[in-house]
């Protein structure tokens, strides 16, 4: 006896689960939900970074949200391959990050221009491209610490991966 699974409905439910560290974006925006396997009755999640401390919190939030929508019978599986990249972040997710004050990653995980130079990172507050990297490792595994030379504000930048 199995209940038919509607992947679209499940994705809509998962789109209400916020990322625990950046609550303005959902786990669907970030590309953490890889999909729904209707055949196996599974939700497929992929970690952003191997050491991300939020991985367990995300899995627990997914389980409780599914249960609250009568979808508690679905399994939650972790898939590693292909590995997550910042390209999985949706356009809507990028805009939400920027509005929240986190410079989103440019499209294309290498994030370099045609000459192989790094793309400029606009300041999420004033838009200036006169910005510098302070530290490649920031407050969470997914962010680097940057500073704007014009408005002088420090800001987080989503690491390109």
């Amino acid at each position: 006896m199995t209940t038919p699974v509607d992947p679209g409905q499940v994705m809509d439910v998962l789109a209400t689960v916020p990322d625990p560290e950046i609550p303005v974006v959902s786990i669907v925006d970030l590309g953490i939900v890889r999909g729904v396997d209707a055949g196996r009755g599974s939700v497929l999640l992929t970690p952003t970074y191997t050491g991300c401390p939020a991985t367990l919190a995300i899995e627990m939030a997914v389980r409780s949200t599914l249960a609250a929508h009568g979808l508690g019978h679905l399994a939650v599986e972790t898939v590693l391959s292909p590995p997550w990249t910042t390209d999985w972040i949706s356009d809507a997710g990028r805009e939400k990050l920027r509005a929240y004050g986190i410079a989103p990653p440019p499209k294309g995980s290498a994030a370099t221009n045609l000459r192989g130079q790094p793309m400029p990172t606009p300041c999420p507050r004033c838009g200036s491209t006169r910005t510098v990297e302070v530290s490649r490792f920031g407050s969470t595994p997914c962010k680097a610490l940057w500073r704007c030379e014009d408005c002088l504000e420090p800001f987080d930048r989503f690491k390109c991966h």
């Binding site: 191997t50 050491g51 401390p53 292909p82 302070v134 490792f137 920031g138």
Partner: protein, 251 residues
């Protein structure tokens, strides 16, 4: 299905990451600046994440019901299979950077090779991790240059750090019957074949840092067989204390 050589190999990989992650965690709140503190803690997190996947996979391959936590917290020092390099004490900041530079340069090459492993789960872990290890190797190389080409004091400390750690480098590239079998099956990477690329990468950074080449030193080995330096027990004691005192405690 139980496969003891594969289990042993995965322990080697997982224990390297676990022990170095625990070591780096000792810097948390003690690093010279806030940015370095965050960087070292982030690298530690990545390594512990790798260890969780690698030891979890080891437990599955072993088939005795042991998960990553069981393997991390309920084994004695003699059962750990990490290399001696990663268990060395942090020393000063330059010594920590020397260890990280040598290990991450090696691990980047190793994981790059493992992305082509015939063990698809191991290949997936490697593909996921190698991108993060590239950050670790760049961070460490940047500091080798900054300290080596810095003040007389920082330069001398960098030289001293590398001179201590160099004796543990040869072990990274040694192979044995366990690995020869796995290399033939396409599961493991032939470590000996990684050495030329490692030497080239290290030499390039040392030259940029205006540092002398790594000095020759008689290699110290034994970690893969469980013959550790005294430092490992002191690292495991606080790490395993809670699970040893209150077995299977959860919260």
């Amino acid at each position: 299905m139980s496969d003891t050589t594969c289990f042993d190999y995965l322990l080697r990989l997982g224990d390297d990451s676990l022990v170095l992650g625990q070591r780096l965690g000792e810097w948390c709140g003690h690093a010279p600046t806030l940015e370095i503190d965050l960087s070292l803690a982030n690298v530690a997190l990545d390594l512990i994440g790798q260890a969780t996947y690698l030891l979890g996979h080891a437990g599955t391959v072993e088939g005795q019901g042991r998960d990553a936590d069981r393997l991390a917290f309920h084994r004695d020092a003699l059962d750990f299979r990490n290399c001696l390099l990663v268990e060395q004490p942090n020393g000063d900041f330059a010594q920590t950077i020397a260890r990280q530079f040598l290990f991450s340069t090696y691990q980047r090459l190793l994981f790059d090779g493992l992305t082509r492993s015939t063990d698809s789960h191991l290949a997936a872990i490697a593909a996921k991790s190698v991108k993060e290890v590239a950050y670790h190797a760049d961070l460490a190389a940047g500091w080798v240059v900054r300290l080596g080409d810095g003040t007389a004091e920082s330069r001398q400390r960098m030289i001293d750090g590398l001179e201590w750690m160099v004796r543990f480098v040869d072990e990274l590239f040694m192979t044995d019957a366990v690995e020869t079998d796995l290399v033939a099956r396409g599961i493991a990477v032939d470590r000996t074949a990684l050495r030329p690329a490692f030497d080239a990468a290290v030499t390039a950074v040392l030259e940029q840092a205006t540092l002398p080449p790594l000095p020759a030193h008689r290699p110290v080995t034994g970690g893969r067989r469980g013959h550790h330096t005294e430092h490992l027990g002191h690292l495991l004691a606080p790490m395993q204390h809670l699970q040893r005192s209150y077995p299977n405690a959860t919260w």
